[in-house]
């Protein structure tokens, strides 16, 4: 008899994990994974695969798990994804593969994300057969940015025989996986570093501390360093602010700054040189994954934390699991609330934030109901620190230093469905093209561009 409920996944209890930065979700063990895998119906026309931006053969790998062949399952996933341990943890499965699972009509969908994670984590410990040696084709591709888009594109091209070099602006590879997503959601050493090692094992070289657009331009890479093609996966790094009064006060941070200090710079760890300021009462403005990450980091640093979001709970763009975890951990949610100004004390530090309550009106162009101010509902939230997590936009640096590379009005690079930009020989994908989105969409774009680059360069012989 098929269970309508998924096998629950073990987690660190909320009261315990509030005190540490260790991973919240502990994942399935072998027995649990096999049990959950046996819920999969193995659909002939699997809807789940349609929902996956990199089209992983989901029923295929789950069948292997069911039969206890974890290495086999890992091979199935590896055909389509270079970062399964990451995706198993950070993909919004509920709106992708799991959202389309036929079981969700009657009960819980198959826990695809948790199974992917189980396979990726277990396969790391296994002596997997090394892939067949790659025959080099003598062509060189430069990849700008070592986040999900860049790593995926680089891995795909290396597998096809290209000599690939990634240029990373920061001092550590990984992009948002390293600077943005916290340890308790995505362990750096055991997960991110290992998956980057996997890409390097394919022969990909990574040069850090190199800001393309400043340290070297795209044209110089092609002309002087003889790259046959360039893929730009530079992400969306510029933080947005609200433009309200008091926003430059001491104690107002972008989520990017707060998280990068805590994650990339290890600020707050005993032997780290970079300082991290965390207030006693912290407001995080925004409702996405980044807002949840910043809020839960501040909570772990001992603060009382408020999420301030102008729409309702249903509209929160964060992964359902993250919202759920944040609530369990004791983050306060001030929903349908919008900040109007930040108050400061005589020393220029944050002393509070005035807000107004919102109601939901007609749906706007995003399809979500538009928040409208409730007159006379102003109040002051007593906080001594504010983190702005309002989204990010692409950095204009590369476009502004590369003649022929065009952007739209949001500074996003213009690229067609294959990732081909307006400049010959240059492809782009991920947040640099779409604006801030998800890890898996960036990976999908990296993969598509790799195929297009291969098609173009193969013709060029």
């Amino acid at each position: 008899m098929l269970s309508l409920q998924r096998v629950p996944v073990r987690e660190q209890p909320a009261a315990q994990r509030r005190q540490n930065f260790e991973e919240v979700c502990l994942g399935y063990d072998r027995e649990e994974a096999i049990q959950e895998a046996s819920r999969c119906l193995g659909c002939k026309k699997p809807k789940c695969v349609e929902g996956c931006p990199v089209s992983i053969d989901i029923p295929g790998f789950i069948a292997k798990v069911k039969s206890g062949d974890v290495a086999g399952a890992a091979h199935v996933i590896a055909k389509d994804s270079a970062l399964p341990a990451v995706c198993g943890r950070v993909c919004p499965q509920e709106s992708q593969c799991e959202g389309l699972c036929v079981l969700s009509n009657k009960g819980d969908s198959v826990s695809i994300g948790k199974l992917e994670r189980f396979v990726a984590d277990s396969a790391r410990e296994l002596p997997l057969n090394q892939a067949a040696p790659i025959t080099k084709n003598g062509k060189r591709v430069a990849v700008v940015g070592s986040g999900p888009a860049g790593l995926t594109c680089a891995g795909e091209l290396a597998r096809k025989g290209y000599e690939v070099k990634i240029f990373e602006a920061l001092h550590e590879a990984g992009g948002v996986l390293v600077y943005g997503i916290p340890e308790f959601r995505l362990p750096k050493e055991n997960v991110v570093a290992k998956e980057i090692e996997g890409v390097k094992r394919l022969g990909v070289e990574i040069e850090t501390d190199t800001v393309v657009g400043r340290s070297v331009t795209i044209d110089e890479l092609m002309r002087n360093e003889h790259f046959d093609a360039v893929f730009i996966g530079s992400g969306a790094g510029l933080p947005k602010f609200m433009g309200i009064l008091g926003e430059n006060a001491n104690g107002v941070f972008s989520a990017n700054e707060y998280l990068t200090r805590a994650n990339l710079m290890r600020a707050g760890q005993p032997d780290a040189d970079t300082p991290l300021h965390t207030g006693r009462r912290v407001a995080v403005v925004g409702g996405g994954n980044v807002a949840m990450d910043a809020a839960r980091t501040a909570l772990r640093k001992g603060a009382e934390v408020y999420i301030v979001y102008r729409r309702g709970e249903k509209e929160l763009p964060a992964r359902v699991e993250e919202v759920h975890h944040a609530m369990q951990e004791g983050i306060h949610f001030e929903l349908l609330t919008n900040p109007t100004a930040i108050l400061t004390n005589e020393k220029g530090w944050v002393s509070g934030m005035t807000c107004v309550r919102m109601g939901l009106g007609e749906p706007d162009e995003s399809g979500r109901r538009k928040p409208v101010e409730v007159k006379g509902s102003d109040f002051t939230l007593e906080v001594d620190m504010v983190i702005m997590a309002l989204g990010t936009t692409p950095n204009p640096l590369i476009a502004s230093t590369t003649p022929g590379l065009n952007t739209n009005k949001w500074n996003c690079l213009i690229a067609d469905d294959n990732g081909q930009t307006t400049k010959l020989g240059v492809w782009a994908g991920g947040d640099a093209v779409t604006g801030a989105a998800t890890v898996i969409l960036a990976m999908g774009a990296g993969k598509t561009a790799a195929q297009s680059i291969d098609d173009a360069l193969s013709k060029r012989q």
Binding site: H171, V211, N248, N250, G251, S254, N256, T274, G348, N395
Partner: protein
């Protein structure tokens, strides 16, 4: 490897280092900065590029020991290496966009304060290489803190020195010298470039506004990534929020909100900040407030 090729002390605690950094050396221009990092958990410290040698592939940095990170940097010897040297960052000085002919039409005055003399040096050198004359005022608390005066004297037409205690040059502030030059010695300037401590730049800009001299300042606020990602370096210029790392570091001195910028510099160094950090972390080892003063104080 970002190996150190030469080191010398300019004063007891201001060091001059030539570092191997091929990509930075190949593309940098006067006015730009770089970020260095020392050790796996080292801080990212922004420093203005003080000189560069495209053939030797080296860049020169000058920094003052003001805390834990810069103290560690000061222990480096020839052959040691930084973990990172990233750059060049920021926009080059607007002077680099003008033709030598246009520059020769202008009377340019540089005002340098303390270790801020170092970021002025490459601009003076750049003009000198184009045969463009300029004047320079160098100020410091006392004679022992004056740096690069010989190099400046070799490149600039006139170098005026001011110290607070009168131990070198005239006794007083750089603004006293500037006022004297314009009001009493009949000097005329078309452009002033002022680089030094925020308070010096503020008063310099107030004076030049009165005197009607367009003024460029170079800001070095708290910064982390240096690429526009963190927004820590945001400042208000002419009522608009700018990021010093990508929109600057040079701005119109008459439009910068210096009071806000100075307040933001105290973020990690006020007593309150220290107390908060001590409370949160149980200790506070310093090293956090130095980036904004290492290059400019």
């Amino acid at each position: 490897m970002y190996t150190i090729q030469k080191v010398r002390n300019l004063t007891a605690d201001i060091l001059w280092m030539e570092v191997f950094a091929p990509r930075v050396a190949a593309n940098c221009l006067p006015g730009q900065f770089l970020i260095v990092r020392l050790g796996e958990k080292g801080e990212r410290i922004p420093l203005t590029i003080c000189d560069y040698d495209r053939i030797a592939q080296t860049v020169t940095i000058v920094f003052q020991v003001v805390g834990a990170s810069t103290a560690k940097m000061a222990e480096l010897r020839v052959g040691d290496a930084f973990s990172s040297v990233m750059g060049p960052l920021g926009k080059p000085s607007e002077l680099t966009e003008e033709t030598p002919e246009a520059l020769r039409q202008k009377k340019i005055l540089f005002v340098a304060g303390g270790v801020g003399t170092a970021p002025v040096y490459p601009q003076v050198k750049y003009l000198h290489s184009l045969g463009v004359p300029c004047d320079c005022i160098i100020g410091a608390r006392d004679q022992s803190l004056l740096i690069l005066t010989d190099e400046m004297t070799a490149m600039a037409d006139n170098v005026y020195i001011a110290t607070n205690d009168g131990s070198a040059g005239v006794k007083g502030l750089v603004t006293d010298v500037l006022k004297d030059l314009v009001l009493h010695q009949g000097k005329h300037y078309d452009l002033c470039v002022a680089i030094g401590p925020m308070i010096m730049m503020k008063f310099c800009a107030l004076l030049t506004r009165e005197l009607g001299i367009p003024t460029v300042v170079s800001l070095n606020p708290i910064m982390m990534d240096g690429t526009g990602m963190c927004g820590a370096c945001r400042i208000t210029v002419g009522g608009q929020v700018k990021f010093a790392c990508v929109d600057g570091p040079e701005f119109d001195g008459h439009l910068v909100n210096f009071d806000e910028a100075m307040n933001r510099q105290t973020l990690y160094k006020t007593e309150e900040g220290r107390a908060m950090l001590a409370l949160r972390e149980g200790k506070h080892e310093g090293g956090c407030c130095e980036k904004e003063v290492a290059n400019h104080a």
